[in-house]
Symmetry: C2
Subunit: 340 residues, 2 copies
DNA sequence: TTGTAAGCGTTATCAC
DNA sequence: GTGATAACGCTTACAA
């Protein structure tokens, strides 16, 4: 960044010392500046169109004004809603958001934490759910420990297995409630597009859904639980698998809305109508989907609020033990699962 | 950020000078470091878990590694897709993205540019379309001039009216093509949810759509062109207006997909079925919507690529006159506008 | 090839 | 209340 007006320029222009200029402009803590001098400085700053250099300030003050955000894919409405919450909360505190993306590679999370440490981000919000993969978890744990040793604080969204503050979404409760609600609508034969086996959020949702149905006396058979990626393509593939297998269930539960969308695509390709031929439910309540026809039955997760809560957690002054913010979920029955 | 390992620590640990440590770690331009020394330094750095301070590097080098992105709302799939492109392109160059949001207030764009100038972002991508509002444009122009005077470069997505590099989307062509395609499907009586009157993208789409129909001999009457916000709520309100008015058109064109979604919501509330009672088309081809039923007829804008192109433009070495990257659009006919 | 030292633009600690 | 001046952590002439 060549040639920018510096504080020295302003000081010179105003005929005061660097120190006074600094104090006049940021209104330093105790030290106060005589009114007429402050006036002169401010005027000079305006005349010169002076903008303080945030990097220099960060150096001198020992802390930056940026919050790091780690997502898997910002184009995914799940993450972009969370990001909206994070930017809003950061903005309220006068902080900027540094957006980083793993491009769907969970192993990159630790790399991005390192990157954000290098930027000396004040706090980091990690938006992706945890995996049941100790080598990846260990690596992330190490990166986080390292980051926190440098004075940074972290909050993650998902399972609190890393020893840091976390926003915990009531996945199990929501999935169980959903299962009971659908059972109540008369469904008996279910299939599950279950996501990756080692993905804890996927597992919580899938397991709780199955568990609730088992309790109701209509268990989901093993071969009706189809693993897949946690993405649109994953839902599509899993649904195709189900369709090829024949013996269609009455209702398919995809462990997130984006996967449900993939399933919808698969159905369309195969000429299977939703909900006429098969009912479909998702999870998350992605807002973009709220108005589509048929409206998707799902479990609402207040994603923007989750993003806000995570940011607040990450920004709160450090505590010795990890804090948890619990977020409830709520079943939303819509047209994709009509009463049978 | 208290207590981080610094380069001095590493140098001391390795028994070399600061300069040598620096050169060993970043592999300085011409100066080279003897192999054994470099080895020692790298080892010490690893042992101490040293991470360079990007802010300090930025200060010393005179340039940061961050790209600023200005959107209106990151939760809007239009912007999140662009953001995905921006992060991808930035990542390729080893740069970070600083995400800022106006929260739908166009006047805040210039404030955010100032903010990004303060961060000394290397380049800025402005994602929102331009307005026909000279006071706002002037303010933004001034902020940009100021930013560029400090050595920053800018690219915006939309109309090239600010004298900076721009990615120009073929809105008019796409809208005209769409009108002709729909006319070809047998539609004759149209209405337009036109967005804000002063919003240039909205206007381009609306005007071109109208123009093409006029040429075809089926002009859209003035009172069937309903202004509104460029948002979901805007589409919803405008559609309600249209429905209340009675005398339903055969097809409603919303100038973006998110507005079309709002229109869909309004239809549902009023018990009007799409496409049975009324056909609906949008613009942008938001990916989340590709699989919904009824699939929405729209004009595809390659948003991720637009984000990439804008970032590349902003990062390219400065040129004396504004460069333009033109992006074509493509009509996508789907079920929401069946053949009549 | 290595080291010394002068910045980079601020803030903060001192004296005055 | 104001002004030198030393940090902050790094890069990069300039010397050696």
């Amino acid at each position: 960044m060549p040639a920018s007006v510096t504080l020295s320029d302003v000081a010179r222009e105003a005929g005061v010392s660097l120190a006074t200029a600094s104090r006049a402009i940021n209104g330093s803590a105790n030290r106060t500046v005589r009114a007429d001098l402050r006036e002169r400085v401010l005027e000079a700053a305006a005349r010169l169109r002076y903008t303080p250099d945030a990097n220099a300030q960060a150096m001198a003050r020992g802390r930056t004004t940026s919050v790091g955000l780690v997502v898997h894919d910002i184009a995914d409405p799940y993450f972009s809603s969370i990001a909206a919450g994070v930017t809003r909360a950061a903005d309220r505190e006068g902080l900027q958001v540094t957006l980083t993306s793993t491009q769907h590679d969970p192993a990159r999370e630790s790399v991005l934490v390192d990157l954000l440490k290098r930027q000396r981000a004040r706090a980091i919000v990690i938006a992706g759910g945890r995996l049941d993969d100790e080598s990846i978890n260990d690596e992330l744990r190490a990166a986080l420990a390292d980051y926190r040793a440098g004075g940074g604080s972290v909050a993650l969204i998902g399972q609190p297995i890393l020893g840091v503050d976390a926003v915990v979404v009531a996945n199990a409760q929501g999935a169980a409630d959903l299962a009971r609600a659908l059972h109540g609508r008369g469904y008996r034969r279910f299939a599950i597009l279950a996501g990756p086996a080692h993905h804890l959020t996927a597992r919580e949702r899938s397991d709780a859904f199955r568990g609730a149905l088992a309790e109701l006396g209509d268990p989901v058979p093993d071969d009706a639980v189809v693993p897949s990626a946690f993405t649109h393509a994953g839902g599509e593939d899993a649904m195709h698998h189900l369709l090829r297998r024949g013996d269609l269930p009455e209702l398919v539960f995809a462990v997130n809305d984006v996967m449900a969308l993939g399933a919808l695509a698969a159905c369309r390709e195969s000429g299977v109508r939703v909900p006429d031929d098969i009912a479909l439910a998702g999870f998350d309540d992605i807002s973009t989907l709220r108005d589509v026809v048929p409206a998707l039955t799902t479990v609402r997760v207040p994603l923007v609020e989750v993003g806000i809560a995570a940011t607040e957690l990450a920004l709160a002054d450090p505590s010795d033990e990890p804090r948890l913010t619990h977020v409830p979920t709520q079943v939303v029955l819509r047209d994709s699962t009509p009463v049978r």
